[in-house]
Each structure stands twice: as structure tokens, then as C-alpha cells.
Symmetry: C2
Subunit: 199 residues, 2 copies
């Protein structure tokens, strides 16, 4: 690194802080920034700044939004009576990409993790209960992950939501489509057997 | 991509313009920018802008410099009478990392490539001849690559430098250290045989 001028060293260091970018790749990206058209290089700098300064969380579902409301909560074609609860904005994007869901979302912004000091008060659970209490929601689909924390969060949510007179469901878990049984872990296979459906 | 708000789509698009960054990685980097500490995210934006606005080419060797002169041309411990000619600043960095060279450099900023319309006037060749004409240089080591263009550039330079009364050399080519002969191409092996040294 000492073979580069200080300004370039700083750029390489900042690039290498990104996930999955090692020092070699950071060097290559920095050299690209120097060689790329001025407009393109500065467009990246501006896009980073804009993302941090303009992006916010939707005031309804806490998904990513450019303004007060996200493009899903603001879309009249979406069903507001069906709410899918996810951990992170990225999960919401994955579900959207599948095209399988036409309701609205609620992003918890994490999972319950007592070991890391994350309790219900650190997640957007109070806001979910408030949405349910305001009425108009028929069913809440809990789509947290199937990690230990994701399952614990799902179980906690289903318990507190059951008292609110709303239908609560959990996404199915089992063998992924295209998955070969021989490569799957025992827990997944056990789950697939336990939750087998009559055909 | 349409599943993201426009500001985020723009950031993903800018990241995916970088070399070796596909759309998936660009998405991951953009999400990281949103989640990273404000200071770290903006430091990257600033480093990109600084690199474009502050970095320039050394007025002597045309290597990367923070100001008028690079840290090698400005270093009195380096031998100014021995000049190594390279294609790109990255080549200069590779040689510096090897620690094998203590002279100064001259960066051509490319190679002769008539098919792409790159002639001697598009490279820093006139500036090299000027440095040689000004005196104080005993030897020029031509360290352009061993591609067709690199070899052609080396041969062109050695011809025009020979008339200037300066000693001209070319870096050795042959079997790389740690290289196994069975995996090497025929041209490299031919070169290694042609240029064999008496031991």
C-alpha cells in the first residue's frame, strides 16, 4: 500500500472496508476509479452520498423508502389486509422478486437475539401491534428466517398476535425446490417429514 | 432492481459498473452502504471524489502523484541515472512491491497499438526522449509487457533510444519462478531456451 500516493491509499482502504472486497480487489477498483470517465467516477460518489442522505424507512412498514412511504405501502393495488412480517429489507426484496406475494409488509429490522442484547423493544414489534390494533388487517404471515433466532421471533410474534384477534400464519419450511434430499441436513428433512401434507 | 426505491437502484447501478462487480454483489454493497456507520459510508464517497480531484500524474515520470512530483521522483535515495520504462502506473507499483528496483521510472501510459489508433504520439515517449536528452541518465530498462504490443513498443523504444547514446536493456523473459514447465506455453519455453545463460 505504501507504494501508492496517500490519496489513493485512502481510497483503497475505504473500498476494502466493503464486504467481500479484499485488498487486491480494492486496488483494482481504485485504479478503475482513476481511469474511468470523470462523470462515472463522481456518479458513484454522489450515489453513495444520496443513498445515505435521501433514503429513509417507510413510516408504515419500515421497509426502504425514498420518502415517507415505500412504493408498496403507497400502491393501491396491494392488499393492506394481508401483512408479511420479515426481518430485513433484503428479505422483502427477495419475496418481491418471487412475485408470490401481493399483500403489504412489516420489516422488523432484526430478530430477537437475547445474547446480543436485542429484545422486542429493539425491533419494530410495537409498531406492528399498533398497525394490527388500528384494524383492517386480517392475516399476518410470519416470514422471519428459519435460524434459531428467526424461529424464536416467529414463536414470540405468533403468541402476542394470537391475543389480538388476527389470523397468524408461518411460511412453510421443508425441502427447497430443486433440492436433492441426499445433500440436505437432517433438521430440514425432519421438518419436511413432520409437516408432510396429504395429497 | 425495480423492487428497490429509485435512489437505491441508482447506487446499485453505479456499483455494478465497477470491474468484476455483478448485479448481486452490487446489491450487497449498496445494502452495506445503507447499514454501515454514516461516517464510513461518506468516507468512501469522499475518497472517490478526492482521488479524482487531487490525483495527478508526476510531471517527471507520469506515475501517479498527489501533487507535482511522485514519491519516487521526489526521493533523493533513488538513482535518477537508471530509468525503468513501464506501460501503466500499476506496473510501477508491481515493481516497487518486488523491492528489486532502486532507480526511477517512466510511465508510458499505454503501449503502441496501431490497430487501436495508439501511436508514439499518444504515449509519453517524447517526454522520455526529453529526459534522456537533458542528460544524467545512464541506462534505460524497458519493462513493457511481453504481449505483442509490449514487445513491439520495447523494440521501437530500443531503436530510437540507441541513437541517443544511452545504454538500453530489456527485462528478462522466461520461466517464472515456481513455474512448472509442463503447464507453460510453447512461446515462453522457446524464449527460455533461446535466452539460456551459461552457468
Amino acid at each position: 500500500m505504501s507504494h501508492y500516493p496517500p490519496t489513493l491509499v485512502k481510497l483503497i482502504r475505504e473500498f476494502s472496508r466493503l464486504p467481500g472486497i479484499g485488498e487486491k480487489t480494492a486496488e483494482r477498483l481504485a485504479m478503475h476509479i482513476l481511469k474511468a470517465p470523470q462523470k462515472q467516477a463522481l456518479a458513484l460518489a454522489d450515489a453513495i452520498r444520496d443513498a445515505r442522505e435521501k433514503m429513509s424507512l417507510c413510516q408504515t412498514c419500515f421497509g426502504l423508502a425514498d420518502g415517507q412511504s415505500c412504493h408498496i405501502c403507497g400502491n393501491p393495488a396491494r392488499d393492506p389486509s394481508l401483512v408479511c412480517v420479515v426481518e430485513q429489507p433484503a428479505d422483502m426484496v427477495a419475496l418481491e422478486k418471487s412475485g408470490a406475494f401481493s399483500g403489504s409488509y412489516h420489516v422488523l429490522q432484526g430478530v430477537l437475539a437475547p445474547m446480543d442484547g436485542v429484545g422486542p423493544e429493539n425491533l419494530r414489534i410495537a409498531e406492528l401491534l399498533k398497525r394490527v390494533a388500528e384494524g383492517g388487517i386480517n392475516e399476518v404471515v410470519i416470514a422471519t428466517g428459519t435460524s434459531v433466532e428467526g424461529e424464536a421471533t416467529a414463536s414470540y410474534l405468533s403468541r402476542i398476535l394470537a391475543e389480538k384477534g388476527v389470523s397468524v400464519s408461518r411460511i412453510a419450511s421443508g425441502v427447497p425446490i430443486g433440492g436433492e434430499l441426499q445433500y440436505l441436513d437432517g433438521l430440514t428433512l425432519k421438518r419436511a417429514l413432520d409437516y408432510r401434507r396429504k395429497v
